[in-house]
Amino acid sequence: MTSEAARPTAPLVRAARPAWAIFGERVLVGIIHVSGVSAIIFVLAIFLFVFREAAPLLFSDRFSLIEFLFSTEWYPTSASNVRYGTLALTVGSFAVTGVAMAIAVPFGLGAAIFLSEFCGRRTRESLKVVIELLSAIPSVVWGFVGLTVMSRLIVDFTGAPVGVNILNGGIILALMSVPVIVSIGEDALKAVPDSFREAALALGATRWQLVYRVLLPAARHGLLAAVLLGVGRAVGETMAVLMATGHAAQIPHGLLDSVRTLTANIAAELGEAPAGSDHYRVLFLTGLLLFCITFVVNLTADLVVRGRRRGEP
């Protein structure tokens, strides 16, 4: 009987938290919600802002989208014949990013595999600190390294006339994307259940067989996502490529040619383009193009990650 009498009081006691605690919790929940949503709001707001600045030119009849996308002639301030063709810049962006990925992917994934599978705990902790430090170096510093140290090395080793070129920008961007690839890649490998490793070892696999027959296939979606995030890092970089690539608007014919990227072009010209002029608007349109490229890359990464989740039991 006594227990029956006590039963209704028990929940009451638990609910009787002070009002400030309940209120505080609601506020905290609200703040967390807002921060969660804010990323989306920011992205949308920025997209709308960029679009609004570009729209008057995009929909005017003196502007040709075909020319914008497929002409290589970028003469925004010509006195006689203004031409806004961004193909050379787009190709420049892709060329530098491609070289960066060709260097960063083997090194990044290799480092991720080493960190997660082969090295001892103490080595791993110190290596991770160093790699994270690498990602904390400001891009201007990277650009300066490219402009001074790397360009001289490239001239010495390759005999190229100019040291600021695709190779230089690619190496600098690779150094900047490796930390991203390593940390995401290591997480992906860590997420493979230990039972996979145990099963492989029990079947007599060597460590190397374990890595390339079991872990890489199992973590392939996560590793791909790591690579794509590295690509996003490289495509969006501004300052370092402005300094390291030579900033020449041309279709490159080799690794040692200078190029100009979309981002660097915006950085170099927007400061001086009169607000509201066609040049100003076309630079925003370039930003929009860049936005679309980054968006596609990230969307691909996201879909790949989702594909992995669906594929899992």
């Binding site: 990323a39 989306i40 920011f42 992205v43 920025i46 997209f47 802002f49 960029v50 600045e53 290589t72 002639e73 970028w74 003469y75 925004p76 301030t77 010509s78 006689s80 050379a88 360009s151 001289r152 001239v155 006339p161 100019v162 040291g163 995401i184 992906a188 997420a191 996560g222 996502a225 995030l229 996003g232 890092r233 969006g236 501004t238 402005l242 030579g246 900033h247 608007a249 041309q250 200078s258 100009r260 981002t263 915006i266 170099a268 010209e269 927007l270 400061g271 001086e272 383009a273 630079l283 930003g287 860049l290 936005f291 980054t294 968006f295 990230n298 990464a301 996201d302 990650v305 992995r308």
Partner: protein, 328 residues
């Protein structure tokens, strides 16, 4: 898995943010100052408008002068020499900056509109040097040859085509070093060397005068242009001939001031009638050692002390016979 997704969104946001930051971040000193609320607090405001080439140095002068004489605020805006002169001849500004001389028609307009004769003050010089690597055997070049190298449609792609043999270079393709299209230097070069035609594509368009000289100094096959004050031991300044066959002129201060060097011009300030009060003090200060030092820091050529022609000392009096209309 959540982690990856979050990083993805964050990255996207970061990319967008950086784009927007680039979008918003205009460079300091790029355009007009706008009003500084001087009419309510300041005693006098000097309106200064004109040449985009001079806008940075005009800005620097205005800022420094405000420290020297806080009672006077100088408001600077650009727009181009023609815009400044037009505003002056309507009487809506006090000083017009111009990197060219006023045309006779413009002087007539100003006289008719305001009843006052425009007065010219040369406040500095601007000269571009053409740089090559110090090992390049070339010593002089003509404007025509420069146009062949730099202009769209120009035929000179290799040093051998302009008669230069570079020792020990397999590939003598000319590496053209230029400036980004928003630079005044770029426009000056385009106007005076390329006759307003466009630049050939594929030049390295650097964002600073100093960087041009550095890249040329490190590249044996390069040619570039930049302010005269930026020379280093690694580069060589070429003598320039206005035409092929004409005698070449060395880029130095004397030839700049005499304007015999083809890529030299004087920078002017124009006022209506003899400047009075704050305007006069300001121009006098611009022509002082302090003002000329700022000019040099902005990459221009200062006027030697004995060539400076300051506003007439007698305030309010009629202009002396040697009014600074044209010192040459």
């Amino acid at each position: 898995m959540m982690r990856d997704e979050r990083t993805g969104t964050g990255l996207l946001a970061a990319a967008a943010l950086s784009a927007a930051l680039v979008a918003c971040g205009g460079r300091p000193g790029g355009g007009a100052t706008g009003s500084q609320g001087t009419t309510s607090s300041g005693k006098s405001v000097v309106q200064n408008k004109g040449s985009d080439t001079m806008v940075n140095v005009a800005q620097a002068w205005a800022e420094e002068y405000h420290k020297v004489n806080p009672a006077v605020a100088v408001e600077v805006s650009g727009g181009g020499s023609g815009v400044g002169i037009a505003a002056l001849s309507k009487g809506s500004i006090d000083i017009a900056n111009a990197s060219r001389n006023m045309k006779p028609q413009e002087i007539e307009d100003a006289k008719r509109n305001t009843g006052k004769e425009p007065k010219e003050f040369i406040v500095g010089f601007d000269a571009l040097a053409v740089y090559v690597h110090k090992d390049n055997p070339l010593n002089e070049i003509s404007i025509d040859e420069l146009a062949q190298i730099f202009a769209e449609g120009g035929t000179a792609e290799r040093w051998s085509q302009v008669g230069v043999k570079l020792a020990g270079e397999k590939d003598d393709k000319i590496v053209r070093v230029s400036r980004q299209s928003s630079s005044g230097t770029y426009e000056f070069f385009r106007e005076h060397v390329l006759a307003n035609k466009d630049f050939k594509q594929g030049s390295r368009d650097l964002s600073g005068s100093k960087e041009v000289v550095e890249l040329v100094g490190g590249t044996r096959t390069a040619i570039g242009y930049s302010g005269m004050g930026y020379a280093t031991p690694a580069v060589k300044m070429l003598k320039l001939a206005p035409k092929k066959g004409a005698p070449a002129v060395a880029p130095n201060v004397a030839n700049t001031i005499s304007k015999s060097y083809p890529l030299a011009r004087s920078l002017q300030m124009y006022t209506l009638g003899d400047p009075q009060g704050g305007v006069k003090d300001y121009i006098t200060w611009v022509l002082s050692d302090a003002g000329q030092k700022i000019l040099e820091q902005s990459g221009y050529v200062s006027i030697p002390p004995d060539r400076r022609i300051a506003p007439a000392p007698a305030a309010g009096g009629s202009a002396p016979a040697s009014a600074p209309a044209s010192p040459r």
